[in-house]
Symmetry: D2
């Protein structure tokens, strides 16, 4: 059984394990104050091209979102997200658990626009309602689509005009920044958002996300929030070493490109076979629409999620590639699809 179920099926890139092993007995400071974390943070700062960002390492996406958002907001303030947004749907109410409402807006292929947010602001006019304060985007979105620099600039401008914070969930940020048409990089991400995170877990790390905070007022006392929410690891070195390897020689982007390329091979083959897609995703998650009998056939040899029902005889499936996806497995899947093309 070959899995295209997600991009966290395998462990870490071998370089990471190698360095973990080589540095294993070096005694290091605890709680993220070790030299690895400090160096990794410097590397990331360098990649953003600015000295004025704070970098913190956390264990996972939900943890990062909940700590960032709850520390950025005052009690009565709310986040705005796509109705398909991870914080709205798939984090077990983590944001609400910290006391904040998430206001959902309709999305198109997982993406939202400032125009969709304006009515939320128009509606929330007084103290009988929450106060919308933070726009949550994910890049790429839950449906694999990406934001362009122009789109992010529009959000920045919109947020500036309305005293809103802009926060980007980058669980798969590498993938978004490495699509062929990409015009965003870590520098523009830092410049255009108040904070964003660089997802490690889904791009070659065993565990770990790097939160980058640019806006000064959001930086203050942030380590308190890490500690209070259980995110300050005593062996912070585990985080530092991983991000050091990922950013020392741009391994992070190399791995993301590989994942994108593997998904691209699948996508092109499926297109050539005449299949359509739920969304036009250039990243490492694609959502082809297949006849149900073909899906059943594929399930015998491949693992993946059936995503949504399209009509009575078709469903969309989610195929995810990772830094570790082997081209031969992609080829095997393509062959299986071609072979089953007549199953309908």
């Amino acid at each position: 059984m070959i899995s295209f179920k997600n991009d966290y099926s395998e462990g870490a890139h071998p370089k990471i394990l190698k360095t973990l092993t080589e540095t294993n007995l070096e005694q290091a400071e605890g709680y993220g104050l070790d030299r690895f974390c400090l160096e990794a943070a410097t590397l990331i700062r360098n990649r953003t091209g600015r000295e004025d960002v704070d970098v913190h390492f956390l264990s996972g996406g939900t943890q990062t979102n909940l700590i960032a958002i709850s520390s950025f907001l005052r009690t009565h303030e709310a986040a705005i997200a796509a109705e398909s947004g991870h914080i709205f749907v798939h984090e077990a109410g983590a944001i609400e658990s910290t006391g904040h409402k998430v206001i959902a807006v309709g999305s198109r292929e997982g993406k939202i626009t400032p125009e969709q947010i304006q009515p939320v602001l128009d509606f929330h006019t007084d103290e009988h309602m929450v106060k919308p304060r933070l726009v949550y985007l994910s890049n790429p979105t839950e449906l694999g689509t990406v934001y362009s620099r122009q789109e992010l600039e529009a959000f920045r401008s919109f947020c500036d005009d309305r005293s809103l914070l802009l926060y980007v969930d980058g669980a798969r940020l590498g993938s978004a920044l490495c699509v062929p048409e990409a015009d965003l990089d870590l520098g523009s991400m830092a410049a255009l958002t108040d904070a964003f995170y660089i997802g490690g877990t889904k791009c070659g790390a065993l565990i770990g996300e790097a939160l980058v905070i640019r806006t000064p007022s959001l930086k203050q006392d942030f380590r308190f929030f890490l500690k209070q929410k259980g995110a300050l690891l005593s062996k912070g070195r585990l985080m530092g070493i991983q991000f050091l390897e990922l950013f020392r020689d741009d391994l992070y982007f190399e791995l993301a490109r590989h994942a994108n390329r593997m998904a691209g091979l699948l996508k092109n083959a499926l297109k050539e076979s005449g299949f359509e897609f739920l969304t036009d995703s250039p990243t490492n998650q694609i959502f082809p629409i297949l006849p149900n009998p073909l899906i059943e056939d594929l399930k015998k040899s491949f693992d993946f999620y059936v995503w949504s029902t399209i009509d009575e005889s078709h469903s969309s499936i989610r195929l995810v590639t990772s830094w570790a996806t082997r081209e031969e497995d992609v080829t095997a899947l393509i062959k299986a699809i071609e072979k089953g093309r007549n199953l309908r």
Copy 2:
């Protein structure tokens, strides 16, 4: 500089890194449903000698404490802890952050007794005060001391009579269970508590604690709490593989015994040199009382915490050994102390 600052200065036991590396490309389920986690949980269940406990893997002690305690308590219920207890002092208000008061009681060498808790119950009589509901112990305590089976049985009986839950923080549980005079094991821990956790981070793992829940009502929906608080790791395999190695051949206890033995060497040498201790700790943390000039001298070559001021010319320091502490480093420290014995 040799560090006796804590037991999380080094990485993981090599067997763990080896298995992480060997299994790295095996595709596994996400979110703790992988075969490694399942097998590790089974191993731990076996070591408790009972089938009726649930085992969950979390990232760190504060995270484990806050998720366990906040899910075990209703809104108005409070935890009771030693005034030196980790949740009362050193978790940045993590428990209060989930809405629950921690009631402190005086302690002796970090330990508390049921007799100290009874007045808390007597005092909290009605709805104008919180309702004490959970007793929090740590074993070993913050000061290295341990509870005996008899003491834990007394707590169990006390808690049963008063409808209290008993929860044990085992950040360094291995050390407590491996002291020469130990009469507690994982079986008695599971039998005598409602829940407890087996600390991995401070006993040979890179990251990870194993929470063991015996009381049925506390088990329900626990994975929701993990997810909601940001503790459900997508690459749960990282947890499973580590605990698999730690419990496959009792490596966990072997490492704890090593750490205890190293601390014991230090302790004996210090005793023979005539020094006294803040507490009578049999575990891997000891708190010798030294003249301040000697402390200053030691600081030149060794890293450790100065714990508390004893009098104007003496302080207690904390020396911590780990699974990785080398006997030669212990010997070096002993020599340095003996050499500096006349510094006062």
Copy 3:
């Protein structure tokens, strides 16, 4: 300026003020344990025809909703409400502030059905999402419509089958129970819900809502929640005396009938004048659709909310009558509408 803006523009029914004055110097127990509260609770229990309900008095609707719902739910559980529901829109995120997500479902004239809730249950399948646990209805709804006994029975049956709690916000419950076609009373409300509240503030009291809890597990320790959330008044007598007067001789229902009758006069006159309504409300809130110029004209002499834009030349307005609305004021408004009928 005559106000039809809401049903809390005036003070309390004179009988209430009279009894407050007459009993003013009687020394009473504090915190809701006074004889007035005890007697008022007994009266309400009698009106439900059952001994097994607990009755608590609180200050307002948002307070009642947030304390009830947060005490009924465990951390990971969510409430389900109409997208127009008060807790979803108009309580400044009070429920989320206690840690719980409110899941919105589409509504028709403010009402929802079990059929609309089933998809929510189907969607929320695992610990990556919140666990839907409580259905929140308001009767009457935000749009003045009411639930029938049959509809509430359907909810009860639905909730029983799916382990859901059913909670009804009765901010204007008197109005709902006193519509001509009403087939619900306090007895059926208690029988069919797990808990509900009888709104006093909007039906003749100065302040106060009576929460009725039937389900035993929800009753436990409830006074702790009242205290912890700041709802336990030291002079609880203020609550007791008011509800004593409201339920001693069914004044509560008498006042509700008056408000309904006043709204009915308005509604009939508007209907006869050919106007349509946003919803078919039989209660004391009606939402006629009027030409904007007429609305502007009415604003000169009457106070009311413009509710929603219908088309470019029409809006709906909200007219609310109360226990204190004078028939002469209703007549004045009717005349003004008739007079301005040609304004369009």
Copy 4:
């Protein structure tokens, strides 16, 4: 049975009830925007002698404390209070319920000093602990004692130097400001604190406390917090009318002086009879130490709290007088004590 149990045994001063009745049918704005609230706020501002304070009306002390403190603090910040402080002991964990730890310091007769707070600041040095941020005093204290202007100035200076907020719980503020030796008034309270509240419930109102906020950053969006925590009453007029009467002609202070005078009569008589007191309280709560048999005898005709055990044959009791305490009842109690003087 005559009660000296508390100062909330009776209703409201008759002037309040009279005005409630006279204005009853006047239609007013909802949610504290009525003319009564606006005028009452202006009166209070005038009494503080400054235009720059915000005034909000809330229902009770616990509600006021929890909303003020939780809105003033960021997530990781803590309040510091006397170990006898109301928020630490008698509010059912209300502050912790909003996520904030309350750090207790020892007190003398209910009072604390900056010197007692300094060690708390010295101890809380990093992100492993909460960040102390707000000093909570009550004036008078739980034990009836009061702070002088000099003491409050010392706190102000201390807090300014250490970036701490100073908040005063004035549940019985009238009593504190009206003791003969008082050198504090509403002006100095406003000048020396960041926020404080003027307790109405315990000084002649039926319900209600007036929160006064001076520090600009604490004012922002405060009505959101009121709404979110269930404190924004739809019939806010109830609050406004009461405080209007209390402050129109300084009725508030007149009532406080009466209560103090009644307590003074008791105190003097007890002193003359040779009894000692738990604290030297000049306010309307006194704590005489009586022989247990005398206490038992008094209980037959008077209601009061037995406060604490002094020795095996003596206890302290709490006697509280109110705006409504009749001198004849005080005389009756004095006589009963004199008559039972030999009971020991």
